[in-house]
């Protein structure tokens, strides 16, 4: 049984030689191609993942940009709306003022016309009354009076009328 625990040097030699030959052969035949394939696959997966991450970042950037643009457009439209409302208000105020001015002018013109009409009517009336009075006096006096006399009489008449009016009051 002693042989069991004493290593045989020839066997050790063969083991070392075999192991090193195996390592050299496997390195060429197995580990090299296998590790290269594994690394290529890992590289491919890494590239795919990086591509996907890049695409996602790009999508996020575009989304952010769109959102910014949307909010920009929103605020701009709000601004435009406010400006339009302001313009409308101003226009309304201007129109109202103009209409009021027009109305005032029409009113004033009408009032002036009315006064003029009244004055004309008063003058007409005064003329008619004078002629009628002259006619009546003529009839009363049965004599024709020339224009100068007529005027003197009329003036005297009106003076009397006014004094009588004054004394009445």
């Amino acid at each position: 049984m002693d042989k069991l625990i004493f290593p045989d040097t020839g066997l050790m030699f063969w083991t070392v030689v075999t192991f090193f030959l195996l390592m050299v052969i496997l390195k060429k035949a197995a580990w090299g191609p296998l590790l290269a394939a594994i690394e290529a696959r890992e590289g491919r997966i890494k590239a795919d993942r990086e591509g996907a991450e890049k695409a996602r970042a790009e999508a996020e950037r575009i989304q952010k940009e769109l959102e910014a643009r949307m909010s920009d457009a929103h605020s701009k439209s709000k601004e435009l709306l406010a400006a339009a409302a302001k313009d409308g208000e101003a226009l309304r105020a201007r129109l109202k003022a103009e209409a009021e001015a027009d109305a005032q002018a029409i009113k004033e013109k009408t009032a002036a016309e009315l006064i003029a009409e009244k004055n004309r009517l008063v003058a007409d009336l005064r003329k008619d009354v004078a002629s009628l009075s002259v006619l009546a006096a003529e009839k009363l006096l049965r004599k024709s009076v020339d224009d100068g006399v007529q005027k003197t009489v009329l003036d005297g008449f009106f003076k009397d009328l006014e004094t009588s009016k004054a004394s009445k009051n």
Partner: protein, 250 residues
């Protein structure tokens, strides 16, 4: 029946012929032939698996290779991984295959021989020295054998102790694998021998005990399958640890 003689007959490697080269007897033996068969099997199946993407051997070897690389070598060797990976991969697959081939009835237990495990342990020892000198330089490597912060007068003593420690690590590697693999063979042989020991008393006893003996032997064989994987892993992992510790001294 001389049980010890029988055991020795089955467990000791007998040369088929002698071929003396100096002090070495390079004659072939069943163990060497089994080892070569295991190596041939490895070379064929692994190179096939490395090239054929969807082959069976690829689907078996790839997870093992990735496990050795990512879980065992990479955490310890870091960017030195690529240089040392082929050695550890070869070691792991060599041990695994030799352990399994040793379980085949009629084949020799390659790793149940102390010469084989001693050779691999010596390779580990040499690799430790080689890696340490290559990565650190000779001076730094020798200086780092002793932990830093030791008083100068203790240094020579500790140097000797550390060198012996390194050798002891490798001797323990050698004996662990040898004893674990040998134990399985011894126990299986013992159970099978029970049949013949009882048969010498009477034929009936021999037949009577044989189902139990075969059943127990089978159970031990199944356990040996587990032990084969486990010991291949342990030997490889400890080799990685030892070599790693001489690559990175701190």
């Amino acid at each position: 029946m001389d049980f010890e003689h029988e055991l020795a007959h089955h467990l000791i490697d007998h040369k088929l012929f002698h071929f003396m080269v100096g002090p070495l007897d390079l004659g072939l033996s069943p163990l060497i032939l089994t080892m070569w068969a295991a190596c041939a099997f490895l070379v064929v199946s692994l190179s096939l698996g490395a090239r054929a993407d969807k082959s069976f051997s690829r689907s078996v070897m790839e997870p093992l290779v990735l496990y050795v690389r990512d879980e065992m070598v990479e955490p310890i060797f870091g960017h030195h991984t690529d240089i040392y990976l082929p050695y550890f991969l070869t070691l792991f697959f060599f041990l695994l295959t030799c352990n399994f081939f040793g379980l085949i009835p009629g084949a020799s237990g390659v790793t149940a021989n102390i010469a084989v495990t001693a050779s691999l342990a010596i390779c580990t020892f040499l690799l430790m020295q080689f890696a340490g000198i290559k990565e650190q330089g000779l001076g730094a490597y020798l200086a780092h054998i002793v932990p830093s912060g030791v008083p100068w007068w203790l240094w020579p003593l500790l140097f000797v102790i550390e060198v012996f420690g390194m050798a002891a690590k490798c001797i323990s590697l050698c004996i662990r694998l040898f004893a674990n693999m040998l134990a399985g063979h011894v126990v299986v042989l013992s159970f099978i021998s029970l049949i013949f020991i009882f048969a010498e008393m009477s034929h009936v006893a021999g037949y009577g005990v044989s189902p139990a003996a075969v059943g127990l032997a089978l159970f031990i064989m199944l356990m040996d399958v587990l032990v084969s994987v486990l010991q291949a892993y342990i030997f490889t992992f400890l080799t990685i640890l030892f070599v790693g510790s001489s690559v990175h001294p701190h």
